[in-house]
Amino acid sequence: MTYDPQSPHEPAESDVPDALRRALRNAAEPGFPVPPTVDAALRLAAERRFRSARRRRVLRLALPLSAAAAVLWIAIAPSLTSYRRSLAPAAPVVSHVRPTILDAFALARRLKAHEPPQPQWDCNSDGVVDERDVTALAMAAVRLEDGT
């Protein structure tokens, strides 16, 4: 047997003794003819087993991951909600978006509830937050843009 530098792990076929080669071939053969239907059935059964094994592996991973996600969601959901609430405007904010009567109504409710006035509630920019700001918002809501 000689060392082949092109294939260091596999010896060249010519180097394998004939007796060994035959013995190896016979080891994989059943020694009797196998009908094609049995062959196909065996292949199918093997494929099924591999598939179910793969499914079990995925389930084994998915279940703990889902549980971890659920626990995480339960833990952070309340803080997320409060974060969203903190982002919501505490009062109607004068912006480029045209206000509706609900903006005026929201300000009127806050004034009625004697909430501490916020600078952004001063819609008419007169330095005071009062009923006139409510009127300013309501009038902006009903204004006809083209005057007709």
Partner: protein
């Protein structure tokens, strides 16, 4: 006179009588088309009632737009609604007066608010020519918490005698 000549004379007489009848009928003063046209073109006054139906939810705020799909009208005045929460005239752009389009809006912070179908405003109009086809669009409606709610808008017309 031959029978042929008699027949011809009778035909002529009948034709003359029919023509006279038609001429007299056309001069009947009761169906003067010019006068009829004058009457439809004459300015007349009426009103358009705006109703909102918020179902079981109490209505605290609304904003609607009223216009005419066909025909023309002039807004001559705006009144509030029937419920105590909306008896005050709604907000509107004064530029809408003498025009045919208006946005109406109102809210109420009262405890007592209407639910179901309620008249929220009455728009007095002056119409000339063909009767306008009014159309109204609900821009927004809100409940006592200031949340948007669905509501159905309806119009009813009335005319001054």
């Amino acid at each position: 006179m031959s029978s042929l000549a008699r027949s011809a004379r009778n035909c002529a007489v009948l034709t003359l009588l029919a023509s006279a009848y038609l001429l007299l009928g056309a001069q009947d003063p009761g169906i003067d088309p010019a006068q009829e046209a004058d009457e439809s073109a004459a300015p007349r006054f009426g009103w358009v009632d705006v109703y909102l139906d918020s179902g079981t939810v109490r209505l605290a705020a609304y904003q609607v737009e009223l216009a005419a799909e066909t025909g023309a009208f002039q807004i001559v005045g705006i009144e509030g609604g029937e419920h105590a929460a909306f008896t005050e005239p709604p907000y509107y752009d004064p530029a809408a007066l003498q025009h045919d389009r208006v946005i109406l809006a109102a809210f109420s912070t009262d405890e007592s608010l209407p639910a179901g179908r309620t008249r929220v405003a009455r728009v007095h109009v002056r119409v000339e020519g063909a009767a306008p086809q009014y159309v109204a669009v609900l821009i927004v409606a809100g409940d006592a918490d200031g949340m948007r709610i669905p509501a159905e808008i309806q119009l009813e017309e009335g005319a001054q005698p």
